[in-house]
Subunit: 200 residues, 2 copies
């Protein structure tokens, strides 16, 4: 079993490569209709080891607040922000992930290639954006994406797809290290809720 994926600019235990920054880009958010799905999506990104969620579509401070609040309470260094022009941002990222070199764009879609095949060949040495669509994804996303990947070819949920994809790609996290600095820590238990707060 691979061990935790450290967040700082050090070598990942599992790969021997420098830490790979993973962002999740949520396209097409609608404040009312997608409120809880988008909230769950960002929390899933955080829980399964992404570094950041980027919200696009309708601006929604309440989603950002939820993610910041959970990070403050449960620890870690998860970031989030709103992006008004996600397509422009993605086009740039495809060319320049911040260091003048291309980034990796993974588009999760029920129409893509099987994730089990794709995960093992994905680039692990470049910043990655995982794009998660809403109802209507512009066709350009399919072309911009380095990989169009499906977690099954059945309709289900972008939240489940993101969870399964990240779990598979990132692997197990050492939660007590990875989510350090929070106010609350859950202690795994066979039969009850067991929580340690930072006052304990």
């Amino acid at each position: 079993m691979k061990s935790g994926r450290p967040r700082e600019n050090v070598t990942d235990d599992s790969t021997g490569l420098p830490h790979q920054r993973i962002s999740v880009l949520r396209l097409g958010h609608r404040r009312e209709r997608d409120k809880r799905i988008t909230s769950h999506l960002g929390l899933t990104a955080r829980a399964f080891g992404a570094d950041e969620v980027i919200l696009a579509g309708e601006e929604d401070e309440s989603a950002l607040e939820t993610w910041r609040s959970v990070t403050a309470r449960f620890g870690g260094e998860f970031e989030c922000r709103y992006e008004a022009k996600p397509l422009s941002w993605l086009r740039r990222f495809a060319q320049d992930a911040g260091d003048g070199e291309p980034g990796v764009i993974v588009h999760l879609t029920m129409y893509g290639e099987p994730w089990r095949d794709a995960v093992s060949v994905l680039e692990r040495n470049r910043p990655m954006v995982v794009v998660v669509g809403g109802t209507k994804v512009p066709g350009e996303i399919f072309r911009l994406a380095t990989h169009n990947i499906s977690v099954g070819n059945q309709p289900h949920s972008e939240v489940a797809a993101l969870g399964v994809f990240l779990e598979s790609f990132v692997g197990p996290l050492e939660e007590s290290d990875y989510f350090a600095g929070g106010e609350i820590r859950v202690v795994p238990s066979l039969d009850r809720k067991k929580v340690i707060t930072s006052d304990d």
Copy 2:
């Protein structure tokens, strides 16, 4: 890689055991607030190989209709129904899964034991109910459950938790067999939407 999990009363390829019926019980549904999360949850149950979703909390025909409609269009034999008294039903299932012998109750909770440890020891020869809570889960569920299992001890999403758990426990499905009989079939593609309808 394990191959598909046949639905009929035959031997599962992966285990050599008779087909294990897996139901997902969604507790505490609220029609307005949980509409889309519950919908995604049922679709995730179907896509990752559960046989049935049981809705509890507020009765909601629209959720059942969504699941039935997806099953008609995309195939397979997924079932769904509403249960007015989920705790009574679970208490009975704990004693008698329909054949006079106890069923297995898996409760997904962020407070439980790590899923990676649990999955390998779960019973594969008895009907299983995977219980997924809403906001407030009665304490009795922790005691009724054969296993309280957490998919990470961070707050994220019951949809992601269910997807990761089922993906791990059930394993890969041969989708074209498992979801036979639908009107639509998605063909995995590297770069576009590719769909076959039953008219083709």
